[in-house]
Symmetry: C2
Subunit: 569 residues, 2 copies
């Protein structure tokens, strides 16, 4: 590609309103432009990367035996009514009516449409298992679209859905997808980790997320220092306490704590061990009998909302009660709550169940109970794992300790079970001619998000450093003063033709620009290999080669350049 | 691809509610499924064809120097307000509001978005000319979606937009696109014709449509028997009359014509030459002074609405007055109208201007004037070409006569001029540093429509006959009783592996199905080449080859099959 015929559109200035580096660099490198909040156009450079990502995803899906289809972006609303998601899905689901006043949505996902398709097309066990996928545009009306294409409203996704009559073939397909995803991110040259994940609102049982590791990642991953175990922080299992509860040594007493609104203040003012304190949080219940529920974690621990909302009496998704509701129901503010004498259901974390002589709020403003002990001062409440793990704790497999990393979620695989098929009555006849509800899996890759995630992981202060497989161009040709030197033109044109003939994607900077501008653009856009041609080089018969990632420079004789490049891409 | 792992989904029965053959065959061959009115999912076979069409379009656009980008499907409404199309575009433009009550549309076309992009990205004449394209999903809320993907609401389109500072480079790009389109349809093996077209509501001057010729086509094409001239019937120029007006030989007289409501009845009842009659039609005017306007064509001619709505006093798009309005204004019904003594503006076709002693309505129910002559009985009205051409008439280049063919519009190229750029103030600085409004061209290909059009042109009573370049698979392998014969399995598997290794797309029917079912499916899906393997063949060491298009059968020795197929695809 000649820059003169191309829309390079690089920018020197860091754009305002772009918070993360990938968003800044995608704007500066001329990859995307904003059309409206959360809506972007891909300029040629951005689209080239997007298409390379798409092609790798497609190849690996095909290799794994999945069949590509294409469903519409506009979906009939009645299918969403069938599964109940018409009501349950929030305002992210963009609903509208057509000219005949029929309800439609812009598809944020395609479980309904695919289940409808399969219940019509597949009638016999002989057609199973079946794994169908598409690479297609989705829309989610995000409350706060941000970070460019990392969290945009319109985005490109690969979504696959598999159908089964038994758990064994679902497991097989799930494992094949796990492997395909690993291949995809490996081929793209990205550092990534598959992690155990919560299945969340989409439903289902087993689930893994695939994260591209990057310090700027929104997600916290807890991984084992000694094994392959890794989980999203929401899902990472806390170890059971190894200690047992000690006998009480103190009397319970009510203490005035007027200046201690937080655990930290309490600990500081009274010289306490934070591990001897517990915090009590009030969340909404899911029954009329218990509109409020208390959850208690140790002072130095954090409540894990995703774990807590699975408790029997707690509403999902988890919602905290307001200060007003708490005061009305319990007679005290948030800073002075505790489980002693509380007239609402109480759940405690396993780590709290083994505490003795501990400190909690007295359900009376500016008062705490000190020296509290289970079974003497209050009944032992039901215990569960409701906290986040802490770095250094033992992982569930016992083979290491937890360490944390930040990641960007770019893939997610689920075992859905019969959540959608049962609601939509999607059955097939088994070998005995009996109707069986289909068992489903679903498997997503955020195609456009990968582009941003790759940049978060691969950049420096001069711009993007593309991994070879997804670089918009593999080679950049920079002729010096081409418009003044006939010799430079001739050599540059020949090199361009030779590389193109070898099937290499080349960006040929044929503009009348200063060398500094040309170098800066190549580095900003992140072309892995650049070749400089000036009169000096022609005299010496060598090209000046530079590697974007290592910064290493080399002189390559004219007749070896094509082979050299081929050997390095 | 093994059929056992594929969603073949063929159907024997001709589906109800599918009017045209391509729609029937796309359903029967398992290419598409309907999700709602005008919304379709592509099953694997349909998508394979769609992707092949897309790839050819992309390659030819790239070769012609266009740059691929990708704009969002959801577009901000304010851009449409800027060009005035927010109001002008009918209900085909699907409008909706997002969660923040901002106006958006589902893009039926992208002139607004691209012009907005280019006015921001391109500032200098040095960056021009520029030709940007995308292959992207569009939505038009059609009043009557029909014929499957031929006229669906959501569809895939290639749309390109070029930007210029002078007519010369616009002409060059326009010609390059004309050539690219010719290459595209030639490579796809389709019989097609570029025809002169009206620019219609999109605006602009020069325009060509590309039609795939098919008897079922919705469009009528008038082409020259002696040259390359061809035009959409709307645009085909009528020849000027070669005869001159004869002197009057009859007196004008009012005749009772109680049973003659139509020209045909009048001609029959009074033994007239239809070429001596004229019909007068009343359409809406575009000024307050003349809310109604009369247009007159010869009795044997048809009014051309697209030509007529370009007349100075006529409203565009053309609308006929109602019977009630006509009676109120002119005192007579539609069957008795004529230009004599009419108190509204009158336009006549050129062929009417040379008539003498002719018959027209008397603007009095059940009466006609006979023996009417211009300039004696009424002033000669303003003449223009406002009729459809007739087969056998001389074409404008004088090198042949008109013949008609039916076509399906699959491409359309336009010179838009400054219609959009002026409204959106899209300018760049010229060589003298002066701001100049951009001149634009636009170039569309109906990617999904091509799939249907190809079928309309290529099918027989057994199914589709794909041209090689866009066939979902090039070869079908049909092993006979594979599940009983180990030898057949072995030979079939080897053939499958050999063809795949040669880079050939193969559909391998590994189902336990009767041979009749397998043959019928291959013919229905339209695979160009099929290879049968049975025990008999193995004994003889030859495959049974059959060509879908010619029906020709051949025996090919085992060791020659790959070369034979390679030589025939």
């Amino acid at each position: 590609m000649r820059v003169s015929k191309y829309l390079l559109s690089t920018q020197k200035e860091t754009p305002a309103n772009a918070e993360v580096i990938s968003h800044q660099l995608m704007l500066r490198a001329g990859m995307i432009r904003r059309n409206a909040s959360g809506l972007y156009s891909y300029l040629p450079t951005g689209l080239r990367v997007l298409r390379k990502v798409e092609a790798i995803v497609r190849e690996e899906m095909d290799k794994a035996g999945a069949c590509e289809i294409l469903m519409p972006m506009v979906q009939p609303g009645d299918l969403w009514v069938e599964t109940g998601r018409w009501d349950k899905f929030g305002p992210e689901l963009l609903r509208f009516t057509d000219r005949n006043n029929r309800d439609f949505v812009l598809g944020p996902t395609h479980e309904e449409v695919i289940t409808d398709l399969v219940r019509k097309e597949v009638s016999s066990y002989k057609q199973l298992p079946l794994n169908l996928y598409q690479i297609q545009t989705k829309f989610r009306d995000e409350v706060r679209p941000r970070f460019g294409v990392m969290r945009s409203r319109e985005f490109l996704m690969k979504d696959a859905y598999s159908f089964h009559l038994d758990q064994q073939t679902l497991d097989d397909t799930y494992n094949a997808m796990y492997q395909a995803y690993s291949n995809i991110f490996t081929r793209m040259g990205l550092e990534f980790r598959p992690v155990l994940a919560d299945t969340g609102s989409i439903g289902g049982s087993v689930s893994h997320e695939f994260h591209v590791l990057a310090n700027s990642g929104e997600d916290l991953i807890a991984y084992s220092t000694g094994s392959d175990y890794a989980a999203n922080i929401e899902k990472a299992e806390s170890p059971m306490p190894t200690e047992t509860r000690q006998a009480a040594t103190e009397e319970m007493r009510k203490v005035d704590t007027p200046d201690a609104k937080t655990i930290e203040e309490l600990v500081e003012q009274f010289g306490l061990d934070i591990k001897k304190t517990a915090k009590t949080l009030i969340v909404r219940g899911c029954t009329d009998e218990a509109p409020l529920v208390a959850v208690v974690v140790r002072g130095d621990h954090e409540l894990n909302e995703v774990k807590a909302d699975k408790l029997e009496l707690v509403a999902a998704p988890l919602e905290f009660a307001t200060e007003g509701e708490i005061r009305d129901a319990l007679g005290a503010g948030c800073g002075s709550l505790g489980p002693v004498g509380l007239n609402i259901p109480v759940y405690i974390d396993h780590a709290v169940a083994v505490m003795s002589d501990f400190v909690v709020g007295a359900n009376e403003d500016d008062k705490h109970f000190f020296g509290v002990n289970w079974e003497r001062d209050l009944p032992l409440a039901q215990a569960a794992d409701i906290r986040n793990v802490v770095e250094g704790e033992t992982t569930p497999d016992g083979q290491g300790t937890y360490a944390f990393a930040r990641g960007i979620e770019v893939g997610h695989i689920f075992q859905l079970g019969t959540n959608y098929s049962a609601a939509m009555n999607a059955t097939v006849l088994d070998e005995n001619g009996k109707a069986q509800t289909l068992i489903m899996g679903c498997y997503g890759v955020g195609v456009s998000r990968i582009v941003a995630a790759a940049i978060e992981q691969n950049h420096d202060d001069r711009g993007i450093i593309w991994p070879a497989a997804i670089a918009p161009f593999q080679v950049g040709i920079l002729p010096m003063n081409m418009h003044k030197s006939h010799r430079v033109t001739e050599v540059a044109e020949k090199l361009y033709a030779d590389l193109a003939a070898a099937g290499i994607d080349v960006l040929f900077d044929d503009r009348k620009e200063r060398p500094g501008v040309m170098f800066a653009d190549m580095e900003l856009v992140g072309i892995p290999h650049t070749i400089v041609i000036g009169d000096r080089n022609i005299d010496a018969g060598v090209f000046e080669y530079k590697n974007r990632r290592t910064g290493e420079k080399q002189e390559i004789p004219f007749d070896q350049i094509v082979d050299f490049i081929k050997g390095n891409i």
